[in-house]
């Protein structure tokens, strides 16, 4: 009997391994932002921030904040050498135009058709989609980052999203704290599992169609 214990770090750690040097990446607020901490030293990714910058750097030291330099969450950041700034039309031109290699977003629900819901719980929470709809519709690869189970024990991976969609059929990869899945042909494909979870445990605890991919292995 394997007990589920939420582990956001493994999600960020695994996602960081997808990137190759030169990839342009947009990291959403929250868990996806953690991904930046785990990119291997020999890989140089270029972080885009949809409020209008390329070459997003780490948070400044206390006292060095610049009121004119924030990320899409409104928090103070820095710009790396070789970065640049642009207006919101250009920023989303970059996003919609397919010039972002990976966008990483948190989810409320994600389903086996590649549908993603992360911007609205009707009657309860209506923060607005911000840039998420454009990011999911426009990026070359969309990675959904999420804990595998709700606090209630319900699976975040679904046969079909019940909440209003952020985008339809756009998710390519889902990484949870139990494994890494690709989404194709209307089903999840388990590509890697994270110990102590096993493919059997994962299939049992996921409320969606899952195929265990032929080369499925443990991620270390």
């Amino acid at each position: 009997m394997i007990e589920y214990i939420e582990n956001k770090e493994i999600i960020a750690r695994r996602i960081a391994r997808f990137f190759a040097s030169g990839d342009v990446v947009n990291l959403g607020i929250g868990l996806p932002t953690m991904v930046g901490n785990f990119v291997p030293q020999d890989v140089t990714v270029i972080l885009q921030s949809e409020n209008g910058m390329m070459g997003l750097g780490p948070a400044p030291a206390k006292g060095d904040e610049d009121k004119d330099l924030t990320n899409a969450g409104g928090m103070p950041v820095t710009v790396l050498p070789g970065g640049c700034f642009f207006d919101s039309a250009t920023s989303f031109g970059i996003i919609r135009g397919g010039h972002v290699d990976y966008t990483v977003l948190g989810v409320l629900e994600v389903d086996q058709e590649g549908n993603l819901a992360n911007y609205k719980i009707p009657g309860k929470m209506v923060p607005g989609m911000g840039g998420a709809m454009d990011l999911v519709a426009g990026s070359k690869k969309v990675i959904a980052a999420t804990t595998h189970l709700e606090k209630t024990g319900a699976s975040k991976l679904k046969h079909r999203c019940a909440l209003p969609l952020t985008a339809a059929h756009e998710v390519d990869i889902v990484v949870t704290d139990v494994g890494y899945f690709t989404v194709k042909g209307g089903t999840f494909h388990l590509e890697e599992y994270f110990a102590p979870y096993t493919p059997e445990w994962i299939v049992e605890h996921t409320n969606a169609d899952i195929v265990v991919a032929p080369g499925c292995k443990e991620f270390k």
Binding site: E50, T70, G74, F85, I95, G128, M129
Partner: protein, 224 residues
Amino acid sequence: MIKKPIISAAQAAAKVKPGDVVHLGGFLGCGCPDGIVKALVAAGTSGLTLVANDTGIYNEEKGRSSGPAPLIKAKAFKTIIVSHIGTNPETQRQMNHGESEVVLVPQGTLAERVRAAGNGLGGVLTPTGVGTEVEEGKQKIVLKGKTYLLEEGLPGNIALIKAKKADRAGNLVYAKTARNFNPLMATACETVIVEAEEIVEIGDIDPDDVHTASIFVDFIVQAE
């Protein structure tokens, strides 16, 4: 080159008339003309429509109120057209109580709609929102097998924007991520008022470095 009038924030606020569609620059408070917003709150103008990225950050406990938040709190808007209200619970409250109508627009679509209005385009075709609630009531157009939504231009009566630097003719330079929607809104409104941190003489900005051409700007306010 013609010089543009330098006016006070109060004079700028007085140019906003009840019922106006107001384009307000800024992204979660970064690049928002705070001095004009303050004056507009003081003027008590209401019945406005807001076009902005978001409704700012509002936190009553921490006494934090940035971007459009002071105007939201003052109930200046009957209609709020933005991409995000998640950092301003007062907007959600007004929406839930029917005090304001909130229209949520994807951020990239909002940027293109403002740009289209300012650039003489009726609209653009975007893939964003296809298969979501955003597509409701909109014309869908299929080109080469891909479905797009027809999103129309979104013009305004008055743009209130923020720049790092303005020359006396109205040429503008923005700083870092404070650029965001400001240059787009400058093109899309009948009247454009910029709050500039620094006002310099004509000729002091390299013509290759200008972000917004002087002809878009009607009035300049010196930021405090």
